[in-house]
């Protein structure tokens, strides 16, 4: 039988989670507003990316409690994601190239 001796300092008041919850709502709503008002081009992408990353950071840091984990775990989780950076840039680079090849040499309409 496990000893049920929860140390008091291992818990957080529920308040923090409500604050984060509110922030998630706000950020979702803000990114929706960007789409609602039809902001286009670079402002749209940058705003949406910022809201997206902020939301993701809040979930990972507070809800998934990574902020309270020791650095060894944080590092082990974040470092492999760097491989994705290589993959993202490579695929983007490639997609632009293939698209330009198609634009230059192919297509069913008159140029």
């Amino acid at each position: 039988m496990t000893p049920a001796t929860p140390a008091v300092d291992r818990q957080h008041s529920g308040r923090l989670f409500f604050v984060v919850w509110a922030w998630l709502f706000a950020l979702s709503f803000l990114s929706w507003l960007v789409a609602y008002f039809g902001i286009a081009g670079i402002p749209r992408w940058s705003l949406i990316s910022v809201f997206m990353l902020a939301k993701a950071a809040l979930i990972v840091a507070v809800f998934m409690r990574l902020a309270w984990e020791r650095l060894a775990l944080v590092f082990a989780i974040v470092a492999p994601l760097l491989a994705l950076v290589a993959f993202i840039s490579a695929l983007n680079f490639e997609a632009v190239y293939i698209h330009s090849q198609r634009e230059n040499y192919q297509g069913v309409k008159a140029p």
Partner: protein, 234 residues
């Protein structure tokens, strides 16, 4: 052996190298189950990343116009078109389920059986609502003529990506709901207080299961953040 007080004083980097060079465990204070779930999440994150990357690459490569998502995902309320109405509602619901889950974990830490079970059941309900709304969205779009292989609004890959990515995410949500309902039942029955053994694994039930389930559930919400931004709004 350094006491934890001296550890706290060390620089974070020094602490990390100490952890990695310790014996027995690298992640001090992390249970096996939690470590496993984190590693699983890492792998699953790669899967979703590959999905989203594949989608972005296909969208970028095709010479056909990509449909205007604001028009495709519009719902008319009182004759007035509101883009992404269903999506934002779904997003808020999933966010809320994450919130109740976080509170449930907090309750589990305090061994508050009833509160924990209630919050878990609330999470299950919110999750079910999300899946229900997603089913509704699928039904609406299929009625409007969206198919995996073609659609009327532009590049055929739009429908393919939509069904594949939201479908795979929905599957994650659904599996999570099954497991979570089971854990909620166990919490409510008091399995984690009397250490009743699991049917398959033969191991003692523990409140830790709530936290591990929570990690998964938050991850599902996390993935939705990216799908929401990159697929719907991008």
């Amino acid at each position: 052996m350094p006491t934890d007080l001296t550890v706290a004083k060390k620089s974070a980097l020094r602490q990390m190298t100490d952890d990695w060079s310790a014996d027995q465990r690298v992640f001090r204070g992390v249970t096996w189950g939690k470590a496993m779930m984190w590693v699983f999440i890492l792998g699953d994150a790669f899967i979703f990343a590959c999905f989203l990357l594949g989608y972005l690459a296909v969208r970028h490569t095709t010479t056909e116009a990509w449909p205007n998502t604001a028009e495709v995902f519009t719902i008319h309320v009182g004759g007035k078109p509101i883009p992404f109405l269903l999506i934002i509602v779904m997003t808020l619901i999933l966010d809320s389920s994450s919130g109740t889950m976080a509170l449930a974990i907090n309750a589990a830490h305090r061994r508050e059986r009833k509160k924990c079970a209630a919050l878990l059941f609330a999470t299950v309900l919110l999750g079910l609502t999300f899946v229900g709304l997603q089913a509704m969205e699928w039904r609406n779009l299929i009625a409007e003529g969206l198919r995996p292989a073609h659609n009327e609004w532009g590049a055929a890959q739009f429908g393919s990506c939509f069904f594949l990515i939201t479908g795979f995410h929905g599957l994650h949500v659904s599996f999570g709901l099954l497991f979570m309902a089971n854990i909620a039942r166990k919490v409510a029955r008091g399995d984690f207080d009397d250490g009743r053994r699991g049917f398959f694994t033969g191991r003692r039930g523990r409140y830790e299961a709530v936290e591990i389930m929570g990690l998964y559930w938050h991850f599902v919400d996390l993935v939705w953040v990216f799908i929401f931004a990159l697929f719907y709004l991008w």
